[in-house]
Each structure stands twice: as structure tokens, then as C-alpha cells.
Amino acid sequence: MPDVTFKVYRGDAKGGKAVEYAVPISPGMVVLDAIHYIQGYLSPDLAVRWNCKAAKCGSCSAEVNGKPALMCKSRLDSLPIDKPITVYPMKTFPLIKDLVCDVSWNFEVNKKIPPYQPIEKKPKIFQDDVDRVQEFRKCIECFLCQDVCHVLREHEKKAEFVGPRFFVRLAGLEMHPNDGADRSEFMKNTAGIGWCNITKCCTEVCPEEIHITDNAIIPLKERVADRFFDPVRWFFRKLFGTK
């Protein structure tokens, strides 16, 4: 088989450029294989983050031919290999080096989320309860949804908006059958759920096929709207002091 040209971004916070590498290909090869080939034979200091190489850990996120994707899942036979394949780091996060960005902001956000708070009298849990929440719990934290979200990517609202990944996390907590915390206030004010205008870009890039917009964000938006903007509920709250 012929060599394929890869244009891989090389550089750090100060700047850089795409560098071309010719890589021999083999059947079933993915972009991460090519990056490993470059590391192993052409440029040992090429920085890349990866762990499992099986689409289970969500470490090898990048932008392949301009599209946010896991490199371990980007098969060459699904890409036009007669042209150079570009591999760039995620744009939404500050660059550390080459394909590695500083994603620590996400871990800071995670710490702020009010944790799981079990209720006193726990009901019996059935498979349907598990299935409903597991859609959110299967997130592998690749942060591709954060990368593609224009509120974070173009408008740089990291201070006001936690991004799709954390609405998935919030949905997992809010819909957990045994959780008793109320996160409406947090979702409205700290998490900034109002910023999301439902363009569904996040859902499109999710490698775990989580229906981020439909199943997580929209129900959470409804929850916040019920809590803060429903006049009937507002009246009852005033009258009886319930939440």
C-alpha cells in the first residue's frame, strides 16, 4: 500500500505549524496508529495524549481533517487518503504541545458540581431506572462536545457556561433514582444552561452516541424553567414554602 501524508500540528502556546510526514499504511489502520508511527520512527518528541486505543478512555481527542474526533476511532478507509490528512489539537482548550491541550478547566468545573446526595429511604431500583441514567454515565470524558460547542469555542464563555459534558453529568445526577439534591439554582446561575441554544453540535460529535441535547440538556432546561419561571409553581412556593 502507498504512503499517506499526514499534516500534524507541531508547536506550543507560543505558536507552531503543521508538519508533513509520510506514513506507510496497513488494513484497518486508524489515525492514532499513524501518530504512533511518527513517534516511533520519525519524531520521538511528538506529543499526543492517549491511553486505551479502544474508544473507551476518551484521551486521544483531536481535530482530524477539521472535525473533532477520537484518533483511535478515525479509520483511514473513511478518509480521503489521496490528500494529506490534517491532525490538529482541539481548538477550545489552551495548547500545551503538538496535539496535547490543557483540559484541566474541565476538572475544575467537575469539582463545582453538587455531588451525589443519597436520599434517606431508597426505593428499589429496576433496570429501566438504570438504563435511563446509564446513557449519561457512559460518557468517557473525551471533551469533544466541549471542543465543538460554540458557546465555549467561539464565544469563550468558560466562566459562565460549563458546557455539554457537564450537563450530561448533571443529568446523570438529577435523574439518578436515589439522588435527592436540588441543582436547579446551580444549573441556572453557575452552569449557565441558558447559554445553550440547542444547535446539537455536541450530540453530533459524541463518540458514545449520547443524545446530549435531547436527553440531557433539554430536560434540564425544562427543570430550570419549571423551577424559576412557572407562575403556578412560583405561587405555590410562595404560599407553602416548598421547593
Binding site: D12, S26, P27, G28, M29, V30, L32, D33, Q39, G40, Y41, P44, D45, L46, A47, V48, R49, W50, N51, C52, K53, A54, A55, K56, C57, G58, S59, K73, R75, I96, K97, D98, V100, D102, V103, S104, F107, N110, K111, P115, Y116, P118, K124, I125, F126, Q127, D129, V130, V133, Q134, R137, K138, I140, E141, L173, H176, N178, D179
Partner: protein
């Protein structure tokens, strides 16, 4: 030189299931706890665990009990296990699972709302609690979220490369930040190693880049004893095609859910090797059987055998094995609901590790503790599937408590010697000062090839000796590696450190394998094909003496009468 320095009562090295459970436990004692993670938090190899976590909850098979789980574990380990660890593990696993659910985990359910359990190799009853085939992800997220709200400090993408002692006691550690290559010093009272295994020493492995045996190597260099290093588990079912995914794990859950193994003659070949248990035999047995089928010309087109689950309804396969379905569909163009998978053995798990006290996880060095895959003894000569996830939480908790108790009793922080610190930093920087063309990637490839070919599933004295001399040669060459570029996120430089760990682990595996002149569990010697009663009473011990690797044996701890009787009844 001055370095970024942090002080912790307890430092946990490793942030997988065992490390996080240990951290939660240590932090509950009101101590200052640091957790060092080689990659980002939540990416540790635990995330790859698929099939389930073993515990005698008796939800599906009411006859199950800790006693049966204990007997299964000992039988699976060919009676070389530390009996006390096997006992604690079987007794405490159900509580640890209930605790995970108390912290927000959600396992699959039986129709009446109990935690569902599935069958696995070597387990008498249906025993594995699971979430589809993503059990490890569920565990690590639960522990991660519990951990970050327990007041622990997490150091992400930081690699430890040396431990320090003061007199005989653990005093600290030095590591580097991946992002900028700067050194970081930890001054501590106690250290818990939870670094996992070292599968990256092999060519075909299910392990991720992190699994380079760092903890085994750190403990060895600090003077601790390692046991059972000759026992390296080859998981029977890794992917064999396409080349880029060779070795990737195919969960035992496939067989647990009813998957069948066939050769190219369409025979269910396990009939020949273990007619009673067939596909649900122990991993050592299934791996040897697959290897033999392939070697004798009855393999699949790409050098494996066929694993078939397509006789089950497609919806059931997608529901119970969702990530297997996607893994094969996305990476190999195989629809497992319609056609068989091709699978073969893959280096998966180290039974061997740091010798520890069963109750506290204490190693033979004061202040050094170990839990999870980096510790030895629990699984004996062969681990049963599902017993690793339970091991992580049972002994993670115990090691965390052990280290906390030790740290509490220590009135002062021991001192890290300045000269030792300087020397460690110098050693780590040395590759930048060297010139020449020794390349760490090339040495790694040669090591993987040698371990695969000479220290693999079947072993002989001749091969092992060749392997040991190759490792010796690679050690010499690794000491001459020259690195170009800067210290910022430089994977070539990082590999120099990882390589050192892998070489230590490889040497220990090969030398211990040479010493055990019998076949037992995962250790199969073609020149000594039978069990030898004499070796059945001995652990092989690896330790450092005067800078050299020393191999000795010590008697397997004697079991109390009541457990002996239990085993006799459960024959």
C-alpha cells in the same frame, strides 16, 4: 536545586480503582492525602475493565457464599494464593459493591430489582455484578467523583520515578510533570502503590501505555520483595485483526453470556481440553487451548480462533455487550450479532507483585503499602475474571486504612536526603546530555518481541535464558539512550523512564519463570509440563541484593484448619 515540593501524610501513586479507593479511605481519617495520576484522572486502566466485579451477593444463585467464592479463587490460583487475602476478598467484596452503589454507582438489575450477576470462567455460580460491558467505567467514575469531594489533592499527568527512604522508612518520592518536565518532590509519611501492571512489556497486550510496571520497579528499587512474578496472565480473547487493534480486550462477558469458541473445522475445541467447563474454564486453560489450536493449524485466517455470540438475539447482544458490538463494528467491520469474532491470547494481567500483609497492604518496607494489580499474593498462579475489580476495592480500602494508621503513628515526617534527591534528578535528566543513536522506541520494540517470543504462554529453560540475556543487553543499551528536544511533554524522554520499569519487571518475570521448574496456572513450562507438589508449597521471591536481582523461595503461608476443611469439602 530547589524543587516544587508538597507534603502529604499519605501519598497514593496511581489513580485507578485501587488508588482512588485507597485515597477515599485514607482521607476519611482526616489526613492530608495526595493522589498521583500518570494520565488524566479517570483514564486509568480500570476504565477498560469490562465484564464485571465478582462478589458472592447470591442475588441470582442463592446458594452462593463467600466460602464458595474463596474456594473458587484458591482453585483458580492453583492453591498458591495467600489464603488470608483470598478469604478477606471473598468476605468483603459484597460490602464494597453495596458501598459503590451508596456512592452513586448503578449496576444492571434482576427483574425484582437486585443487582444482576453473570457467569464467568472458574466461578461456580453467577457472580459478576456488571453494567453491560462497561463495569470499569462505572467504578472509576463513581470513585473519581467520591474522591474529588473527599478533600484529596490530585496531581494529574505526573510520573513518579524514585522513592526515598530515611533509615528503613519511606520518606518521599520524586516525579515530573508531563506538561513541562519540571521535577516535583513529595515529602510523606506513607506511600500506597496502586500503579497497576506491566503488560506493555509484551507485544500483544490489552494494556494501555501506562501499564509499564512502575510500582513494581519503584518497590523493587526501594528494597521491597516481589512475589509470584512468573505468573503473567494471558487473557484468552484479544482481537487479532486488524493489525492496529491486535491484543485489544474482548471481554470474558462474551463467553459469560453464552459465546462459543470454535476452530476452523467448526469444532467446539474446548471439548478436548476441559469438557466440563468448556468456554467457562479458567483463563490459563482457555489461553493454552487457543494457542495450541492455532499452532496445530486449526486457527482462523488471522491467527486466532472464532468466538461466536451470533446465535443470541441481536438486541440482547447489543444490550449486554454494547461496547463489544461497537468495538468490532467500528474497528474491524465485524457485526458480532451476525458473524463470529476472531480472537487470540493477549498479555493482560500480572498476578505477581509487591509482597504485602493481607490485612493492611503493608509491604516489607516500613511506610510502603501496595494494592491492586501491583500487589502480589491474592490471585496465586492464575486470576479468575472479575476478581480484579473486587480486589481493587477490597484491598484499596485496606491499604488506604493501613497507610493512614501507620502515618498517624508517625510523629514527624522522615527526611528526604538532599544528595539522593539531586542524584535522582540528575539520572532523569541524563538522556538529554548524552549523544549517540540508541532510541527508546527501538529498545521497547525489541523488548516486546523478546518477551512475546521467549517469555510467553509456553516457556522452556532455553528460551528463558535467551530472554534474560536479551533483557541484559537491552538494559545496557537503555542506559545509553540519547534524547533530543525539550523537557515539555516529550514522550521519547518519558519512555526512557517507563522502559527502565518495564526492563525490571521483564527481568523479574523471566528469572522467576526460570526458577519455577513446573507448570502451574499461567506458568507453563514445556520442559516441566506437570504440577510439582514441592513447588506448590513455595512462592518465588524477587528482591534486590547488592544491586543485583536475587531470586529465592519462601513457603506459601499455612492455611488454618477450617479453611483447609472448606477446600476439602469443595473439591
Amino acid at each position: 536545586m530547589s524543587y516544587e515540593t508538597h507534603e502529604h501524610d499519605v501519598l497514593i501513586i496511581g489513580a485507578g480503582g485501587a488508588g482512588l479507593r485507597a485515597a477515599v479511605e485514607a482521607a476519611s481519617n482526616n489526613l492530608s492525602v495526595g493522589v498521583v495520576s500518570k494520565s488524566l484522572l479517570g483514564k486509568a486502566h480500570t476504565v477498560m475493565a469490562e465484564g464485571g466485579i465478582a462478589a458472592a451477593m447470591a442475588n441470582v444463585d442463592p446458594k452462593d457464599s463467600w466460602q464458595t467464592h474463596f474456594c473458587d479463587t484458591m482453585k483458580g490460583g492453583k492453591f498458591l494464593n495467600n489464603w488470608r487475602m483470598a478469604q478477606l476478598h471473598a468476605q468483603e467484596a459484597p460490602d464494597r459493591i453495596r458501598e459503590l452503589e451508596d456512592w452513586g454507582a448503578l449496576f444492571d438489575r434482576t427483574p425484582d430489582g437486585e443487582i444482576l450477576q453473570r457467569a464467568f470462567g472458574g466461578h461456580t455460580y453467577k457472580r459478576l455484578c456488571h453494567v453491560g460491558d462497561r463495569t470499569g467505567l462505572e467504578m472509576i467514575r463513581t470513585l473519581q467523583d467520591k474522591g474529588v469531594h473527599s478533600g484529596i489533592d490530585v496531581y494529574m499527568e505526573l510520573t513518579i520515578f524514585r522513592l526515598f527512604k530515611d533509615g528503613g522508612k519511606i520518606a518521599g518520592a520524586i516525579g515530573y510533570w508531563r506538561k513541562n518536565g519540571e521535577f516535583v518532590v513529595f515529602k510523606v509519611k506513607a506511600i500506597v502503590l496502586a500503579t497497576g501492571g506491566g503488560g506493555k512489556a509484551y507485544q500483544i497486550t490489552s494494556n494501555s501505555w501506562e501499564c509499564t510496571g512502575d510500582g513494581h520497579s519503584l518497590a523493587y528499587e526501594a528494597g521491597a520483595e516481589l512475589i509470584d512474578m512468573e505468573f503473567f496472565q494471558f487473557h484468552p480473547t484479544g482481537m487479532v485483526w486488524p493489525p492496529g487493534v491486535r491484543g485489544l480486550l474482548v471481554t470474558e462477558g462474551v463467553r459469560g453470556e453464552g459465546g462459543l469458541l470454535r476452530n476452523n473445522k467448526n469444532e467446539r475445541f474446548m471439548q478436548r481440553y476441559d469438557p466440563q467447563r468448556m468456554e467457562l474454564s479458567t483463563r490459563d486453560m482457555v489461553s493454552r487451548s487457543i494457542y495450541t489450536e492455532v499452532k496445530e493449524g486449526r486457527g482462523s485466517p488471522h491467527g486466532g480462533v472464532f468466538l461466536d455470540i451470533s446465535h443470541l438475539p441481536a438486541e440482547r447482544v447489543k444490550k449486554k455487550l454494547p461496547s463489544m458490538y461497537h468495538q468490532f463494528k467500528d474497528l474491524a467491520d465485524v457485526d458480532i450479532t451476525k458473524e463470529p469474532m476472531e480472537v487470540g491470547p493477549t498479555a493482560h494481567y500480572m498476578m505477581g507483585g509487591v509482597r504485602v500483609d493481607a490485612d493492611t497492604g503493608a509491604s516489607t518496607i516500613s511506610g510502603l503499602f501496595a494494592c491492586g494489580e501491583v500487589s502480589g499474593g491474592m490471585h496465586g498462579a492464575n486470576r479468575l475474571g472479575g476478581n480484579s475489580l473486587s480486589d481493587l476495592v477490597v484491598f484499596g480500602r485496606r491499604a488506604g486504612a493501613g497507610a493512614a494508621e501507620y502515618a498517624r503513628k508517625l510523629a514527624f515526617f522522615p527526611t528526604v536526603d538532599k544528595n539522593e534527591l539531586e542524584k535522582a534528578a540528575k539520572d532523569m535528566e541524563a538522556p538529554f546530555q548524552r549523544s549517540g543513536d540508541e532510541d527508546p522506541y527501538q529498545i521497547h520494540r525489541e523488548l516486546q518481541e523478546s518477551m512475546q517470543g521467549l517469555v510467553g504462554i509456553f516457556r522452556t529453560e532455553g528460551d528463558l535464558k535467551k530472554g534474560i540475556s536479551k533483557i541484559e543487553e537491552l538494559k545496557q543499551r537503555a542506559a545509553k539512550v540519547a534524547i533530543k528536544g525539550k523537557r515539555e511533554y516529550n514522550p521519547g524522554w518519558h519512555l526512557v523512564g517507563d522502559l527502565k520499569s518495564m526492563l525490571t519487571v521483564s527481568e523479574a518475570v523471566a528469572k522467576a519463570a526460570l526458577a519455577r521448574k513446573e507448570s502451574r496456572g499461567a506458568h507453563s513450562r514445556l520442559d516441566y509440563p506437570n504440577l510439582d507438589e514441592k513447588f506448590g508449597k513455595l512462592n518465588v521471591v524477587v528482591s534486590q541484593k547488592n544491586g543485583e536481582m536475587n531470586i529465592s523461595t519462601s513457603p506459601v503461608p499455612e492455611m488454618p484448619e477450617e479453611l483447609k476443611n472448606l477446600l476439602a469439602e469443595n473439591k
